[in-house]
Point group: D2
Chain length 294, copies 4
C-alpha cells in the first residue's frame, strides 16, 4: 500500500472494532482461491457477464464470449432485486441451472446474487461465489446465513453506506465462521443526476488500508452508462482495486435489465486489451485464462 505516513487511526478511531475484518489483526492481505483463480494479492480479477440470466442462448453466448476475451469469473443474476414488483424478477432456480451449465461448458466459476435467507442453501449448490447486493448490505439475517455457508461471498456496499458500516457488515459474515469475503464498491447515491450512481474511488485505498479483504469495483452500476465503464474500470485498476465486476451482454439493446450500462462483447474485448497494458505498467497481474473448451 505504498510507504506514505499512516493515518489509519485518524481515519477511523474505532477501527479496532473490526475484530475479524481489520488489517491490524491480519497484516497480510487475504487471497481467495476460486478453483485456481486468485482474488487478492497481486492479481487483478475480471468478473463479467449479464446483469440477469435471461435464457440459455443469452447466457451461454455471453459466457463463452467473455471467457474467450479474458473474464476469470462469470456473473449473472437468477434472483433480481427490482424496485418495482412489476419488473422482471429473474429466472430463479432455472437461472441457477443455466449458470451451472455455463460453468461446466466453459470451465468458468460463477458468481450470483442471493437475496433471501431461505435461498442460501440452494444458491450454494450452484454458485462458486455468493453475491450480497447493495440493498441487502444490512440485511443482517442474510449476512449471518452467509456466515454459516462454505462459499466465498462478495458483499456490495450499500448505496449510502459508510465504509464503517460496510466493514461491520462483513464482520457479520466473518464472525459466523466464513473467512472468504470480498468487498465491492459500486457507486454511492449523490445529488448528481448525470450518472446512475457516483463511483467512490476514495473508498478503495481506505478499505485496502483498513481491511485485509479483497476489494472489487463495479463500474457498471457505478456509472449506469456503458460508454463510461472503460474509463472507470481503468481508474479502478490504477487506484488499487483487486478486480472488476462488470456487466456484459451479447445484445445490450435488448437486455431485459440494465442494458444501458452493459458492455457489448466488442467493448468488453477492447477494455481487456486496455487493462492488460495498464496492469503491466502498474505491476499487477491480469491473468487471461487459457481456453480449453473449443
Amino acid at each position: 500500500m505504498g510507504n506514505f505516513t499512516c493515518e489509519t487511526d485518524a481515519v477511523f478511531p474505532g477501527s479496532n472494532s473490526y475484530l475479524k475484518a481489520g488489517r491490524h489483526n491480519h497484516p497480510e492481505g487475504t487471497v481467495l482461491d476460486i478453483g485456481g483463480i486468485k482474488i487478492g494479492g497481486n492479481t487483478f480479477v475480471i468478473m463479467a457477464g449479464p446483469c440477469a440470466v435471461e435464457s440459455e442462448i443469452q447466457l451461454l453466448t455471453t459466457a463463452r464470449a467473455v471467457r474467450e476475451r479474458g473474464a476469470n469469473i462469470l456473473r449473472g443474476g437468477a434472483f433480481k432485486p427490482r424496485s418495482s414488483p412489476y419488473s422482471f424478477q429473474g429466472l430463479e432456480e432455472e437461472g441457477l441451472k443455466l449458470l451451472r451449465k455455463a460453468r461446466i461448458e466453459y470451465g468458468i466459476p460463477v458468481i450470483t446474487e442471493v437475496m433471501d435467507t431461505r435461498q442460501v442453501e440452494m444458491v450454494c449448490k450452484y454458485a462458486d461465489i455468493l453475491q450480497i447486493g447493495s440493498r441487502n448490505m444490512q440485511n443482517f439475517p442474510l449476512l449471518k446465513e452467509a456466515g454459516q455457508c462454505r462459499k466465498p461471498v462478495l458483499l456490495k456496499r450499500g448505496m449510502n453506506a459508510t465504509l464503517d458500516e460496510l466493514l461491520l457488515a462483513s464482520e457479520y459474515i466473518l464472525d459466523g465462521g466464513n473467512e472468504e469475503v470480498m468487498l465491492c464498491e459500486r457507486g454511492i447515491r449523490s445529488f448528481e443526476t448525470s450518472y446512475r450512481n457516483t463511483m467512490d474511488l476514495n473508498a478503495i485505498p481506505v478499505l485496502k488500508r483498513l481491511t485485509h479483504l479483497p476489494v472489487i469495483v463495479d463500474p457498471s452500476h457505478g456509472t449506469g452508462h456503458a460508454w463510461m465503464v472503460p474509463y472507470l474500470a481503468k481508474a479502478a485498476l490504477a487506484v488499487g482495486a483487486d478486480g472488476l465486476l462488470v456487466e456484459v451482454h451479447y445484445d445490450p439493446l435488448n437486455a431485459m435489465c440494465d442494458g444501458p450500462q452493459s458492455l457489448s462483447i466488442e467493448q468488453f474485448g477492447s477494455l481487456i486489451n486496455e487493462l492488460k497494458i495498464l496492469s503491466c505498467a502498474l505491476g499487477k497481474d491480469l491473468i487471461v485464462p487459457e481456453i480449453s473448451f473449443i
Copy 2:
C-alpha cells in the same frame, strides 16, 4: 390536502406506476383500524415505547406510562438490526412474549420489527402491526412475505430511498394482497453531522398527494437527540402527517439501545400536552385512550 394547484404529474411523471398505492386509483385516504384505533383520516396516532424490549420491568413500566399519557400503540423491538454483530441483537421470541404481555395488561396494540422472511409467521402471532425497517425497505423477499400475511405493515423509508422507491416498495406488499400498509418517514442521510439523520418533512405532503396510504413520522431516528424530538414532532403534525412513532424509555441513560434519542416518561407527557393543543388548532383528532387497567 388543501386546494392548491395540482402538480402531481410534474412531481412524478411515472406516478401511474403505483397501481395499488397510487391515490389516483383510490382518491379516499385509507384508514386502518387496529382494534378500534384508527390510523389515517382525521386522526393523529401516537405509537410510543422503547427502541428495544430489554426486560419485563423495562417494557411493562414504559408501556403503562406511555399508555397513561396518551400513546395509542406500543412500540418495542424484539429483533434489532445493529450495525455491528457485537451489539445487543434483541431478545427475539422472549421479547415478543413480553410485548404480548404488555398488550394484555394495558390493552394497547403493539408494533414490532420483522427482519427475516423466516420470522414473519412468528411475529404475526404476537404483533398487531409489523414494522419493516429502513435497512429492509428494499428487502423484496421480506416485502413479498409481508404481502402474504394478514397483519398491517408499517414500512419505513430507507435512509437514502427516493419517494418513488418507497412507493414501489409498498407496492410489493399491496400486490401480495395485504392492503393494510402505512409508510414512515424517519430521516434521510445527508452531509450534515449535527444530527443522526435529516428529517425530510417535504416528503409528507408529497406522499399524501401521491398515495392513499397513511404516513407516519419517526422524529426519534429523524434527529437522534431526545431534546429535538418535540420540535420535530410538532412540525410533523403541522405538515400533515397521520401520526408519530417515537422512542420513550423509563430510564434513557441506561437504555441498551438508542438512549440519546429516547424521551423520558416526563418528556413524553409534556409532548402529548403540546400536541393536544396543536392538533386542536389544526383540526386533527389526537385521541387519548381511556384508561381501564388501573
Copy 3:
C-alpha cells in the same frame, strides 16, 4: 427552547468558536427592529414578495396585496444569481428604485439580495435588509463588506453547508461590527428529486440552541412547488422558526423567475389565515400590520 436535557456540547464540540454568534456569550435571543417591526423574540415575521422585481406594476401590485394580507416585510430581487448567463439577470438599480417606491407607497420595509462587494453601498441606500444568498454564503469578501455596513443582514444557508459553516459565515459579518444578522434555512441539496431542495427543519432547533440570532425559513426554495409551501410554512412555525421568507407573485404563471414555487395572492392570503390560528396555539405573535395607505 423547552426544558430538555442540554446536549449542545455533544452537538458541536467546537461551538465555543462562535465567539459572537454563540448563545453561550449571549443567552438572550437577539431581537432586530426594522422600523418598528420585530424579528426574533416571540414574534413570527412574514417577509413576502416576488422572486425578482420585474416591473413597476408587478412589484407595486404584489406589494400592496401582500401588505394588505399580512406581510411585514417586502422581498424582491434586483440582482439575480442565475445558473445561466443567458437567463434574466434582474433590473439592477432600476429594481432597487422600484423597491424604494413600494416602501414609500405602502409603508413596508424591503429586503433585497446583494451579490457583489461593489454593490453593497448602493443596495444599502435602498434596502432595509440585505440578503446574502445561498451561493454566496461563503463569499467571504462579501460577508466582510456586509460586516462594515449598518443595515441588517439575512444570511442564507448554502445548499450543502453544515450548520457549523453557516454559523462561522455569520461570524464574519458580526466580527466586522454589524450585529444585526439573521439566518435563513432554505433547503439543502439531497438525492431526492421530487422537490427542488430538501427542507432541513432539524436545523431550526439546533440553530436556536447554538446561536442568539433569529432564524427564518424559506419554504419557497425549500420545496420548489407552490402547493407544498403552506405545509412547510406551518411546519416551520411549529418547529420554532422566527419567521418566513416566501415568494408571492400576482401572476405566477407569467413570472420571469421561480413561478412554479410562487404563491398567488389568494394562496398567500389563505396561508396567513392558517398561520394566525397556528401561532395562537403555539403562543407566538404573528402581527398583521395595520393598513394606512388606502
Copy 4:
C-alpha cells in the same frame, strides 16, 4: 474519447445550452498555452505547490523542489477562503509578490486564487492563471469579471454543484470573451466522513464528452489525506483527466493550512515517478520541464 456509443443527449437533454463551452460547437478539445506549457490535448499537466503562500523561504523552497521534480506550474494561495474569520486569511498582495519572485527565479508559471471582483485586476498583474475556488463557483459577478480579463482561468466545481451548473458557470466566463478556461473536479460533499470530500471521477469522462475545455483533478481536496493523494492521482490520469492540481509543502506538519493533505517533497517526487510510467502506458505526455535555473 474512445469509440463507444454516444449518449450525450441522454446525459444532458439541455446540453445545447452550453453555447460556448459545449463540445458540439467545438469538436476539437481546447489546448491552452501557458508560456509554452500546454494544457489539454495529449498532455498531462502537473500544477503543484503549497495551499497558502506563507513566507519567502516556504514558497521558494517548495517551488524549486516541485519544479525540479516535474511540476509544470506552481500553485499557492495569497487570498485564502477560510470557514472562520479567525483563521489565517493569506498574505494578500505580499503573497502575490512572492509568487512572482518564484516565477522569475525558477521559470515556472503560477496559478493563484481570486475571491473578490475588486481583486481581479491586481491578481492578473501577478498570476499566469486565475483560480476561482469551489465556494465561488456561482459567484456570478466574479465570473463575469474573470470573463473580462485576459488571463486563463481554472474554475473549480462547487462541492455540491452538478456538472450542468459547472458548465453554465464556465459559460459566464466564456461569454465575457475570455476563451481560456479549464475546469477542475475537487471532490463533492457526501455522507461519507472518512475523507474530507468524495472524489467524483465519473465527472471526468462526462465533462470531456460535453465540453472542449480541459479538465483538471485536485486529489488533495478530493481526499483530504496526503497518503491517499497518489492513489487518486493515478486514477485521475487513468480516467482521462488533463492534469493535476496538487498540494505540496516542504514541511507539511507545520503548514499554516491544509497540512494533512499536503504531500512532502519526497512524496511528490515518488508520485511523479509513478505517473511517468503510467502516462507512458496510457499514451499521454507528462512533460517534465528542463531545469535551467541551477
